[in-house]
Each structure stands twice: as C-alpha cells, then as structure tokens.
Symmetry: C2
Subunit: 337 residues, 2 copies
C-alpha cells in the first residue's frame, strides 16, 4: 500500500489532503519556552517509553539522528513543520509510523503535537483517529489542563481544544479566472485562515492553499471540524464553477495544460519552482479529463518526487541544486513512463 500522500481520496480534484494536529503539554513540566534541558530530556524519555503501548506501528526517533534530507523530505510532505526540522533542541523527537499518516512532534512549540493525515477531504475520520490516539496517550501521561480554558498550550492561540484542523486545496481555476482573492477574503471573514503554502498572500505557487481554523477556545472539536468542512465545501464549489467557466474555452484550456505537459515531459533540466507551476496546470488537466497521458497516481508522484528533498530520497543520494535540476527532469520522464 502506498503512503497517503500518493493516493487520491474524497474530492481529490480540489482537496489534496486533510490534517488534524492536537497540541498537548505534560502537567509536570514547564512549557518549552521556559523549560530546562532536563525537562526536555524527561519529556522525550517519557514519550519514548510510552510509544510501544500506543500501537499504530509508531516508532520513536530522535530528531538529531535524522539526516537533513530526510527531515526536509518530511517538511515537503507537510508532516513536520519547517521550524521543527531546524530545531536545535537536542531532545526533539518524532513518533512516526511506516504509512506516515500519524506523526507526533515532541518538544516542538508544545511538548507534544500529535498529527494525523489523510488524502482528500477526510476530517471526520481524522478527528476520530486523533481523539482515539489522544485518549490512549492520556492513559500514560497527565496533560496540562484547566477546567476553565481546556488544554493549556505554549501559545495562547492554541488553548482550549489544542486542535488545528486544515485542508490543502488546489485552486487553479479560481486563480485563472481572477476570483481567488474574493474567495480568500470570504474564507478569512468566516473566521478561518487561508493562505498560500508556497509564497505569501494570494499569489500561491502551484495554486495550493491551506484552510485552517484560527479558534480553539470556546468551541468543541466537532464544531471546529464542521466549520472547516462547511467552508471547504464552499471553496470546492467555487473552484469547480471556475473550472466550468474555463472549460467553456476548451481549446485555450487544453492548450495551456498540454503545453505544461509538453514542457515538463521534454525538459532536460527543470527547477522545483517551475515544476510547481507546471504541475498545477497538469493536475487541473488530469482532473478535468483533458490530459490522457497521466493518471492521478503519476501526478501525485510527480508532485512529491520533484521537490528538492524528496527527489534526493527518490534517487537515493545527495545532489546539489544544479544536479537536482537535471535529475528532476530524468525522474519526471521515469514517472511519466
């Protein structure tokens, strides 16, 4: 079975993936911003000891034992945060399973950030899984918790449920029809965050945006999920309408996506940035059934293995920027087949 990020799921034409992250802290230690080295060590040890009892095939890894390319490959998959990958905390750790659909960051901004991932729009099942894991872990540790506020966290924005749910959405249609800013504004006014995952503001490279809640206090986990689902469904609807509009000018749309396909499949060297933009158009082309030469699985592989660190994982050796651009073009041809 391939990893979740290589699969397609519900509403995968627009929703690339769903994630739920729960921030927890252990009652007996200060928050990371103020704790001593020894606290970090004891937290890491506690979690490491509990790992076998949690199940799910989770394994405990010390961050410092993981090589830089592997760390960056996890960042590219959005499995760990960029800040965490660069963490100098010698007791930073990971709990991760083979499928990579569960990943805990230990000694990040909070003591524990447990995350669950799935392809497509899958927030309900993810919430069930996250609660299940959370309850299991609670059998072994005591969380910092206030009757008044809920779960306590390093940063006040996470206090309450400690929950951050998010979906990654691919919005080339809204971008091309010029309606993206309007949709971003609506989502933001709805009490959600939406931002480009590459680059700032409304000009997202690859037309990929992340929608997430910005409220965790005075709201239940279920309410949070329902709210995100509702706004995501609106965004999906808007994106599909935009694609329909583009589809009215069939030849222009076909021309655009096939030129992108022609470039990516024939280039002899290509940057990661150029790939993001071409693959955005190519995914639109396969999702609309225009590009016959590629299926979803190949598009997912192209998206993953053209990123700098995952490319190096794919070829199994470190490469500098120039070598990567050349190897990337070769790997693309291999994947397209």
């Amino acid at each position: 079975m391939s990893n979740w990020y290589l699969q397609n799921g519900k509403e995968s034409d627009v929703v690339l993936s769903s994630r739920i992250r729960i921030a927890r802290n252990l009652k007996k230690y200060p928050f990371p911003s103020v704790y001593r080295k020894e606290d970090a060590k004891m937290i890491s040890d506690e979690i490491e000891n509990v790992t076998p009892s949690l199940g799910y095939g989770l394994k405990f890894l010390k961050l410092k034992d993981i090589d830089d390319v592997t760390k960056m490959s996890l960042v590219e998959k959005h499995i760990i945060s960029p800040d965490f990958a660069l963490s100098k905390n010698e007791y930073a750790g990971l709990l991760i399973n083979e499928e990579e659909n569960i990943c805990f960051m230990i000694n990040e901004e909070d003591h524990i950030r447990m995350q669950v991932f799935a392809t497509g729009l899958e927030l309900d099942n993810l919430l069930k899984l996250a609660i299940e894991i959370d309850e299991k872990l609670e059998n072994f540790v005591v969380y910092a918790y206030s009757e008044k506020y809920g779960f306590l966290t390093s940063c006040p924005t996470n206090v309450g449920t400690g929950l951050r749910a998010s979906v990654m959405v691919h919005l080339p249609g809204l971008s091309m029809t010029g309606n993206i800013q309007k949709v971003l504004d609506v989502v933001n006014n709805f009490g959600m965050n939406i931002r480009g995952i590459y680059g700032e503001g409304s000009k997202s490279q690859g037309d990929i945006y992340q929608i997430s809640n910005n409220q965790s206090l005075g709201i239940t986990e279920e309410e949070t999920i329902q709210k995100i689902k509702k706004i995501t469904e609106k965004v999906i609807e808007q994106e599909r309408m935009a694609r329909k509009v583009l589809g009215k000018n069939t030849i222009d749309l076909e021309d655009m996506v096939y030129r992108a396909y022609g470039l990516i499949s024939n280039a002899r060297k290509i940057s990661s940035n150029e790939c993001r933009n071409l693959l955005s158009q190519i995914k639109l082309g396969t999702d609309l059934g225009i590009i016959k030469e590629l299926d979803d699985s190949k598009v997912n592989k192209l998206n993953l293995y053209t990123m700098p660190a995952n490319l190096q994982k794919y070829v199994g050796k470190p490469l500098n920027g120039y070598e990567r651009d050349i190897k990337r073009a070769e790997v693309i041809k291999q994947i397209i087949g």
Copy 2:
C-alpha cells in the same frame, strides 16, 4: 519525388536553399514602369506562346487566375515576390513547373524574371540551369541589351548580368552566442547583402537570413556565384563553430531544443510566429543529432506547412486566423506522427 523545398541538400544544416534570378526585358517593349496595358498583354502573349517550346514541364498561368491562398503559398516558399503576389497588372503571369524548381514571373518589375531554386548550397548547378534556360528563351525573343552595360533592366541595380543569386541560411548558433551582428557586418562589408527574411535587421525570426549579391555590373555570372559561395562558406564555418560552442553546454542545449519540441508537439493552438521560433530551435536540435524524434524530412514539412497559406493548402480549405492556429497544432501532430 517531393519538391526541392522538402528535400535536404549540400550543407543543409546551415544552407536551407539556393536561388538564382535573372532579370530580362524584351527589346521591343518599354519597361513596365512606363509601358501601356497593350504592351503588357503582348509580352504575356509572347511568353505564353513560347512556353511549350521551352520544355522543363513549364506551364503558363495568368496571375489573376490564381487564388490568393495559392499565391501566398508561393510567397511563403519564396518562389514569387510578395509585391508580385499583390500585383494588379492584369497581364502578370507565371511560368512554373510541377517541381516548382523553375518559376518565371512575367510582367513583374521587369518583363521577365526567371528563377531557379534548389535545396542546400547548389549555386553552380543552378547557374548552369539558369544559363541554359536563358539561352533557350533567347531563341524566341530579343532581349533589351547594351554592348556597354549588358542586359538592361527596370531598376539600374540589376543592369549588367541581371543576375541575383542568393542563399537562405539558418543561423541559430550565431544568434544564440551573440555573434550574429558581427557576421552580418562582415558579409555586408564584403559587398554582399545579408538580411533577416522575417522581420528587420539582425533580429530575424526563425534565425533565417538571406545572403545575396548587390552587384551585377562589371562582374560575370560566374564571378558573382564564386563570391557568394565563398562568403557563404565562411558563414557556414562561423555558424558551425558557434554550434560547437553551444554544444559544450550539452544539457542547456538539449533542454532548449527539447522544450521547443515539447511545446510544438503538445500545443493545441499555435501561431505561425511561434512556430518559426520553435522550429528554428528544433532544426538546430535535429541537425546536431540531439532530437531523435524527428528527421530532416519532417522538419522541412513542419517548416512549410505551418506557414499560413501552405497550412491552408495542406488542409485543402480556407481558414481564418483563429482556425489556422488550431489546425496548425493538429497538422504538426500529424506530421510528427
């Protein structure tokens, strides 16, 4: 047997084609700038009557009987001049054979402009053929000739031999290495004309240039040909050196030509201008043995049938600009196969 412009010949990696044009006028009529309608008619009639005796499979056609698309297709092949295609002279005529390697323009700037064409660098044989045809015709008509100046022509620049010899050269290497202007200057200082055949000056679309003599007085036909051959060989040498320089950066060169190939073979609509530029890079790619997917014959076909009028001849019906851009992309795919 396919027409000369679809074949490859000597030095075809740089020299696309050779042409010799001889300007002649009939002694008993005034020059076209001053003659009466009746003169034009009589010239046309005389040549039409002589046509069967000339041989070479030549047929006489009245220009007014030729549809606009066919006329423009001849202009695109450089077989007739753009001015002649637009001529309002109702006695303008063509003598042309099936192979289209011989074409007389009747009642153009001069009474008779006989032209012979060949692919590649073929000036010696063309001169032989041109002289042979000229001598044959002289059996039937009396040319305007002065012992002092030679053949008399409408425009003083053609007086003497009446001969204009030219070669079309493809200079992408010199263009990319930035040495094109230097080479243009040298050729011009050598008493030759060199100019971009599309667009003005040194920025020739498709990197195609025409080298021709600008002297026809006080020089023999053979001397003219030798002079052009000599300068053309220099240009070929320079262009090949430039390609060698480009070839040192193999991956960049491969990337450029394959991106051009990827675009042209995948576009769903494409303008004639974009084709000229992409095909220039693609021809460089096939000439250097980089692009394996195409042979010379396909490149020649692509060059010809992507031009507006020849595209319409290829598909056998008139198309407006928008339709052409779409059909052009289809025809490209058919030719690439």
